[in-house]
Point group: C2
Chain length 207, copies 2
């Protein structure tokens, strides 16, 4: 669809902006823009303003660097959480995923990304220095590395391992294996191989 | 993912708004919101403002009701367009699709929807009355009905046909048939049947 066909510059500008979003092509952006045009004016104003407000006013927890509406996030300020157990994750999305399991009672440390030389992201761009300081200054017993199992994740894990190995803490990582509910024949061979080596005792109650 | 897991109300509000868009679920909305959070503040402000500006300031052509930045759109005000030929379409998207063919030299009439009792859209919600007035007041020779081939499209076609049949104009509709480049075996039987009945003379130059 040629750009010269937009009947209005206002429409084209909005489509240009919507099409910058990840995974939104120009056709979808046009569909969204025409939907917004048909929508109630006040709804569209609150749509735009909520996004601007979020970007302008959002703050990050001073302890764990997760998105937070207050200086210290609800997880870090909760008396029910075990402050001696810190789970290192890439982003807020990972915190939300782990929280939704309701299995974790420790706290977090959000790196804000992973080391990726291809994207120009080095250790100094991430919240790694503050993790070291946190370990030096507070009583932390265990750090769980919960990053992606990609080359970048492995690189970041190794970098953090080198930084932390002289501290008197336990370093652990998530167990890897065949997902619950998955059929063996569809598991990739690396995962399947590793889950054989790291096999656990069969405990009927935990199945 | 439970809603109680959002680490910030600002984030949740923005996700709520993004998830109202058609085809955007809550997971995608969260991904978009986190993308916007990482984006430059000025870019996000111009993103939000361009959408608000579009909704607030957009106007519609007084003649054809298409989206337009001026009182009369560029198609209706062009001296190169045949004002005696009017193509009736549902929405701006259809105008853009027809314009991109570069095959049409007439003008348009945008209904703003089609008759759909299920959605509570009746003839009075559409720009049908102004189509009749346009035909009464200007020298129109042919009206092309270019609506969807759905039950709602057929209903709308028939309604317009009843309204216009006493005017001295030609009423036509788009030719239907096997799409160019499509294989016969994949064409649906209604389309294939109709394209046999409405077969055209073989003209080697037009193939």
């Amino acid at each position: 669809m040629g750009e010269e066909n937009y009947p209005s510059k206002l429409l084209k500008d909005a489509v240009d902006e919507l099409a910058k979003l990840p995974g939104i092509g120009r056709k979808t952006a046009l569909r969204l823009a025409l939907h917004l045009l048909k929508d109630d004016e006040n709804s569209v104003i609150s749509f735009g303003q909520s996004i601007i407000k979020m970007r302008k006013e959002i703050t990050y927890c001073k302890v764990c660097h997760n998105i937070s509406d207050e200086e210290i996030c609800t997880v870090c300020s909760s008396h029910k959480r075990d402050k001696s157990l810190v789970c290192v994750v890439e982003s807020t999305r990972d915190v939300m995923a782990i929280e939704s399991t309701q299995q974790y009672k420790g706290v977090y440390h959000v790196l804000g990304g992973i080391i990726s030389p291809m994207d120009g992201i080095g250790p100094s761009d991430l919240n790694i220095k503050s993790l070291e300081e946190r370990i030096s200054n507070t009583d932390i017993k265990e750090v769980i590395l919960a990053l992606s199992t990609t080359m970048e994740g492995d690189t970041t894990n190794f970098y953090i391992y080198k930084k932390l190995r002289n501290h008197n803490i336990k370093l652990s990582t998530l167990s890897r294996g065949v997902a619950i509910g998955d059929e063996l024949e569809y598991a990739d061979e690396v995962t399947l191989g590793r889950s054989l080596i790291n096999r656990t005792n069969f405990e009927p109650d935990n199945q």
